[in-house]
Symmetry: C2
Subunit: 187 residues, 2 copies
């Protein structure tokens, strides 16, 4: 399954078998059960996670106990609390499993080591970070425009596989609308 | 004034005089007047902009003609339509000047050339992109939590200089609240 990671890197830069093996040796593989936490608020965040299989969510719980979903992740996606990970601070969000999941863990130390040793991996992570930045900017724009129906349709169009795995109430939380509002345009 | 750029890069990686001159030779300097556009919706976006002086805003205009502010930029900040810039597509946002501004322009071709030639510049831009990603994620979280007063106070705390340059109605647009709401907790 680690070929998923190789394929993702090779969309941006070619690798020899030896290079990929070396890169992979910096990751550790882990399995998590449905509902299990990978990142928990107030704790440190040693790892970024590349998803091999399953489905996860990153979310914040507000003062009233309401969950706000920041991000989903399916196979071939990355997920963690990036603020806490990059700045080595306490987590302010949680990441847990919507279903059983298998991930490759990359510590910040190993990420920085790989980037320093291999220019092409620094290039890969710069490109991924740029793409992530754009995706968040698009999300902010769609929130500002604040048309939940359009946002729902765009999400469905971009990530049809999400809708097979993720319960509607979580999609509603991601879009920042009530479940009733969602059901008006998703039936 | 280009020392601002050097200082920013050197916060992440040291440069020799020769290296910085080489990097700077890939930028062009431009001055813009208050209200002048740097990026305009539906047009191509050849450049990313490093702000030397002045104050700019990036915003989207919705179907009802309402402006939604995505980002401000003061000196030492970067601004453009990153989706259009990186993917070489049409702009979906505008960038214009809140006051007379001077910027350094970096085309995508020159950015990629510098990153390919100089590992340390690829490293610099990866770090900047990570920081930008985190800032957007924090913004999304604060929007989801949806407490305009807290968001206003955090903005004031993070960027006190914004409040000297930016009219209140633009701050309100950035926070996604009415001017009346803003004036309730900003007086």
């Amino acid at each position: 399954m680690s070929t998923l990671l190789r394929q993702q890197i090779e969309k941006i830069t070619p690798l020899t078998d030896g290079e990929f093996e070396y890169i992979l040796s910096h990751f550790t593989s882990r399995k998590f059960k449905k509902h299990q936490f990978l990142v928990q608020e107030k704790e440190t965040v040693p790892n970024d996670f590349f998803v091999l299989s399953g489905c996860l969510k990153a979310y914040h719980v507000d003062q009233d106990g309401k969950e706000h979903i920041l991000q989903f992740a399916l196979s071939d996606w990355w997920i963690t609390d990036y603020n806490a990970y990059f700045n080595q601070t306490e987590a302010t969000i949680n990441v847990d499993c919507i279903e059983d999941s298998e991930v490759l863990c990359l510590s910040l130390y190993h990420r920085e080591k790989l980037c320093a040793e291999m220019h092409k991996i620094e290039h890969f992570f710069r490109k991924k970070s740029n793409a992530g930045y754009i995706a968040l900017q698009q999300r902010i724009l769609s929130t500002l425009n604040n048309n939940p129906k359009e946002r729902y349709e765009k999400l469905l169009q971009l990530y049809p596989s999400l809708f097979q795995k993720v319960p509607k109430k979580l999609i509603a939380s991601y879009l920042g609308v009530s479940r009733e509002t969602l059901s008006r345009f998703s039936s």
